[in-house]
Subunit: 244 residues, 2 copies
Amino acid sequence: MKTYKLTLMYDGGCFRGWQRQGNTNLTIQGILEDTASEILQERVEINGSGRTDAGVHAKGQTASMVVSTSFHSRDFLEQMNKELPDELKIKDIVLEKNGFHARLSAKAKCYEYNIDTRQKQGVFGRKYSLSYPYELDLCAMRQAASYLVGRQDFAAFTDLKEDKSTVRTIYKVEIEQRQDTIKLVYCGTGFLYHMVRILTGTLLEVGRKKKDPEEIKEILASKERANAGFCAPAKGLFLKEVYY
Amino acid sequence: MKTYKLTLMYDGGCFRGWQRQGNTNLTIQGILEDTASEILQERVEINGSGRTDAGVHAKGQTASMVVSTSFHSRDFLEQMNKELPDELKIKDIVLEKNGFHARLSAKAKCYEYNIDTRQKQGVFGRKYSLSYPYELDLCAMRQAASYLVGRQDFAAFTDLKEDKSTVRTIYKVEIEQRQDTIKLVYCGTGFLYHMVRILTGTLLEVGRKKKDPEEIKEILASKERANAGFCAPAKGLFLKEVYY
């Protein structure tokens, strides 16, 4: 058996999220597994570094694949890309040590969220950014962002409470402005369900002065979802890179 | 009567080209005229700097509009953008001297053509670039491009021969490489029907060594469309700016 790491990009607007669901072949995992199984003539399982929601895009999602069939990586990559839909592409494939797992071996992840603050959103970014036509206080947003960094309990920033730990470490939250577009960059050990989108909604509410930057500390301490901001839509979010 | 200049951006893939055609409201001119007429409550005519073909995008198309109704430019721009589809946006509106005409007053135009040379096209640019997965000799392409500059008869580089002059002046043709994407930039006094797309197809054939750079001179002299290269698809082409 050999273990491979795939690096993927996809336009999330064209799929029903990452995770395979029963019969539907409209999920990214489902399409990848079916295509690889067809090419390698064995039942292939492909595990992502995480399950991006429907609508979330990826520039550098990773996935692991364990197979018994021998193949030439470049040929396999070319064949896969030929068969895959235009909106899903394998950027790279590398052989890993056995035991490698895209999710369990991951050390950190970076996400980006794009916001267009113009009165009317630019036509070329409309499927890849949130239209938020308001004046934003970036200074307040940066102050709020600084309180998110570190190892903390992010229970207030998720829409799914399981019996698992909600403690995560955020390494950095950066706010970059480029003309009429604002990019929020999040890097951390991992993120809870909807976490990046709720963090974004909360920072935007700070930017509009609906929330005070200092409130972030209280929201974190409260562990109450209701205290955090709105869940920003999927279409502005990109999984940028997974680090091992 | 007052004359205004509109600056527009649109995703050409969503419309049937610029020019109003009978009843269809799927053309850019048709949608703009109908929306402006509704808002201003008078029959408004809007004339573009040129008729972009179906599928061609614009980052800075211009159009002139002569109206008798008085209005506040900012309010009109906001109202228009509210009513227009997401894929069409007015970037700016300015009052011009009477007699201004978007096409007749134009001094020069710049177009961009995007080419993705990866084996499989990037998923986010797939509607805005040509997938051309070949190794290209940029040096040969730049040499060929240099022969296009100047005041010349471009009869060989158009798909529509009318009884009009086919002489145009090209100021520059630049070839920019960014990782796996190549951008061709064309600036000139004006361009014939399909001219930028045929110039692009011809330069790409030079890049693949199907044509010698020196052949450009012969193609120009021949005035024969059949001697030039293929007409590159509309989706890679952007009207970038019109100069007055």
